[in-house]
Symmetry: C3
Subunit: 357 residues, 3 copies
């Protein structure tokens, strides 16, 4: 019901844009319009997945799970807002790991003294997160070495080449992980697949699902244009830094659906699913969305490297991955561990809030 009502934001956003309303209004309303659209995209994907059987379904989920984020970031990238795109990648990873997972573990832990989840799957996720941290750290250290050690005055080209190579490796790891999860080691993540259909049985026919997916995709693309177009003016009026908007605010909106779903699962003591949504979504951003953006940027003449010039951004990524690994690795959780994750999120939120505009 609620989600149908929110669709009203779409025509409102169009009207505001057409009549040149103040940027803040366009920004806020198009952000709100993205909430139901991202929800529809996700639901349509899941409906198709539920009909497709576990392997193809898993593949669909693995590929289109963060399609809305990918579209928004692509629009921003093509508009040349490269720093915002990088910030929203970082932000998406850390809001999933700290806020979505933190809330799930905390709220689930208030209800259940101790919650368990598949330690093997969690261990593998932790290893993949460690790889993510390494892959996102190296381009920055590469840039640092070029500048300060080899005294290369402008390492733009080698930075781009190395980031392209990194993107290639990340996509290979992503594909390997999909093959591992859906083929060779299905059993490792069992319990997840079975639980999904119970929660979301297929109710839409295939044409309906495809139609909804197509319409929502177009909607997301249009709203993303409005959002990106109004971003700069809006942040200035609101007195917020681009980093705070990219790292904290946009992912808050973009991951609203994940938040809700993960918390609901956690409160039903289905921690495997909650962890899977939060960590899986982060990994999808890191191993698929980010490298696709690097490739798209390269071929569209808007090259984006993976160098983080703001040291706080890399520290935030490292902090969120270290904290998640500490909490997740043993396959057990309690409310205090959720509180810790939320504490790290609060620390990062303050850091980016106090950052200059």
């Amino acid at each position: 019901m609620f989600r149908y009502g929110m669709l009203g934001f779409i025509p409102l956003a169009v009207a505001l844009e057409v009549f040149h309303a103040p940027a803040v209004w366009v920004f806020v309303v198009s952000a709100l319009a993205l909430l139901p659209l991202a929800g529809w995209m996700g639901q349509a994907t899941e409906e198709l997945a539920a009909r497709a059987g576990s392997t193809v379904g898993g593949l669909l989920n693995a590929t289109f799970g963060n399609a809305a984020e990918l579209i928004i970031a692509t629009v921003a990238l093509l508009a040349g807002k490269i720093e915002i795109v990088k910030a929203s990648i970082t932000g998406s990873i850390l809001s999933n790991l700290l806020l979505v997972l933190g809330l799930s573990v905390f709220l689930g832990g208030l209800r259940y003294l101790r919650q368990n989840f598949n330690a093997h799957a969690a261990g593998l996720s932790a290893s993949l997160l460690t790889l993510t941290l390494i892959a996102f750290m190296l381009p920055t250290f590469f840039d640092l070495a070029e500048r300060n050690f080899f005294n290369v005055p402008d390492p733009t080209l080698p930075d781009e080449l190395f980031s392209l190579a990194t993107a290639g490796v990340l996509i290979l790891i992503y594909l390997a992980n999909v093959y591992f999860t859906l083929r060779t080691h299905k059993d490792l993540v069992s319990g997840l697949d079975e639980a999904h259909p119970e929660e979301h049985p297929a109710t839409w026919s295939v044409p309906v699902a495809v139609g909804v997916l197509a319409a929502a995709t177009v909607g997301v693309a249009v709203m993303a244009e409005f959002l990106v177009g109004s971003l700069e003016a809006a942040t200035e009026v609101l007195g917020l830094s681009e980093f705070f908007v990219g790292i904290i605010l946009i992912p808050l909106v973009g991951n609203a659906a994940e938040h809700f779903a993960a918390v609901v699962f956690a409160m039903k003591n289905k921690m495997d699913l909650a962890v899977q949504i939060a960590v899986g979504s982060s990994l999808q951003i890191a191993l698929l969305v980010a490298p696709i953006l690097v490739l798209v940027g390269y071929f569209a003449g808007r090259p984006m490297d993976l160098v983080f010039h703001n040291p706080l951004e890399l520290a935030a990524l490292a902090a969120s991955i270290l904290a998640t690994n500490a909490v997740v690795r043993d396959g057990e959780s309690n409310w205090l561990e959720g509180f810790l994750l939320l504490g790290v999120y609060a620390l990062l939120g303050f850091a980016f809030f106090f950052t200059p505009r």
Copy 2:
């Protein structure tokens, strides 16, 4: 017996101070006088705790366990010796993690082939240490970002604001941990509470304990004044750097009681208690003493941020937490692991010893 004898250092320190003896003498004698005083404070707290029942008693221990350190640091802070205060916080954490825990694990391991401790409690401690590392890393990266990325010429104010916010988050985490340990998950740390009374049954009446606590607190405060007042001149004469004194020497004195107690427990194969003393004390410094000092400094007009300008200091903190996590997380120890911790302590000791005066 021995401790009664050491009380003689108190009048001696007063005499030296009154007759303007050389600073080195005042420094050494007031440091020695602090040993029995810190011991009395600890014992009086435990006597009160033993009478108060496990929850209030645990709360008392959790709050006043490092009261002597807090008083010394507050005196130094109010005297404007901010770098020494920060150094002594770092030093207290790493001497507890590497020297106290290292000696306990090593000496205990010489007697028992393999020693076990509660893996759940150890895992939680490791997570809290990881949070500590993150919280102590972020202000420095924030400062770095301000200076080098945002080109803020003087980030004193934002550094202070962010450090205040960090202090707030740390205190919340501390309170959450106390609530977790004493209320919702008492069972997780069981074995600890029960073992304590056996070791230290209440023998003092409440008025005696309160009286000893009050007298020792006054004594600590006075000796701390002498110690801080003679510090600068003494380190110069001794040819030691302020960092070496703050990070290695002062915590060696301040944690003498912890060393002794933890090693004794380890050699009785009560590793849970030994780990609890070493790691618990570090966490209390990080999550309670450090943030209180930030708040006290702010309201007393001596603002102290949590930025570490000496890169070695942050590296030392990271090293001690990484090493402790590696050793502690599996709930098992042997002498080689203790030797490793002592090895890391030796490395850090050399590093700060070779540092310029």
Copy 3:
């Protein structure tokens, strides 16, 4: 058979050197000649070890296991090629951890769904790797602190002193680990010792083994002279950076025997041995070869500190140790984990390849 044929490279290298052939030829042929020589040294050591009983044998293996690497590095050090020596230490550690272990885990995992190894031994290895990371990080942070915080214009002397102290601590840890493994906690690494004799029963008489060891040692030393002498000219002609050669190419040649042996064990599902070869060899480089080189350099008037001026080198070390710890700590492996290690190796390979010449 094959290895006998490769001995032909030795006279060929001598001929090329004597007739002043182009440096690239000398470089390539002497590198190829080192392969069988390092193999003979290793085999002769193992033959002696097999005859000597498990303790002395273990000691022999622990001491001479990386003798070929030590000789090559010493020759380079005495020739003043200090940066190449440091790079080859880093490279040897990361090629063992990422390439040797990665290939073993990957190829073993293609054959067996899940492979297990002694989690206690793996946990201890992970702790020793963490110590290695700390010990190799601190000199660089020490140098950074000297330069940027204490404003020491030329910290060469304190850097050397601290590196000497670090070398001393590392050798102590090495000896402690040998004592732990061969004496106090033999049982912890059981399964390894027993498996070795089965694989390599002693077939040579002691005089033959000693003779082969002596001859191969001389051969390695001569070929190392040729290799080091032709290195600079060869890398220039090949258009490769010194870092790429030192970190990627030389260890590829130097560890060829380890690669082969570890992969063979992994494919026979003897993961304990595969992990032991890869991780044990890294630890031997870090805890024995590197500190010996620091001491040799100091007494030979070619002081080598352990400061890494290229930030990428330290990042590479951190990345390889973090990734290995993530994969190894739980005592279980699958092909995806091997793929991850190989992915990290590929990332580092690209990074050093794109580095300026």
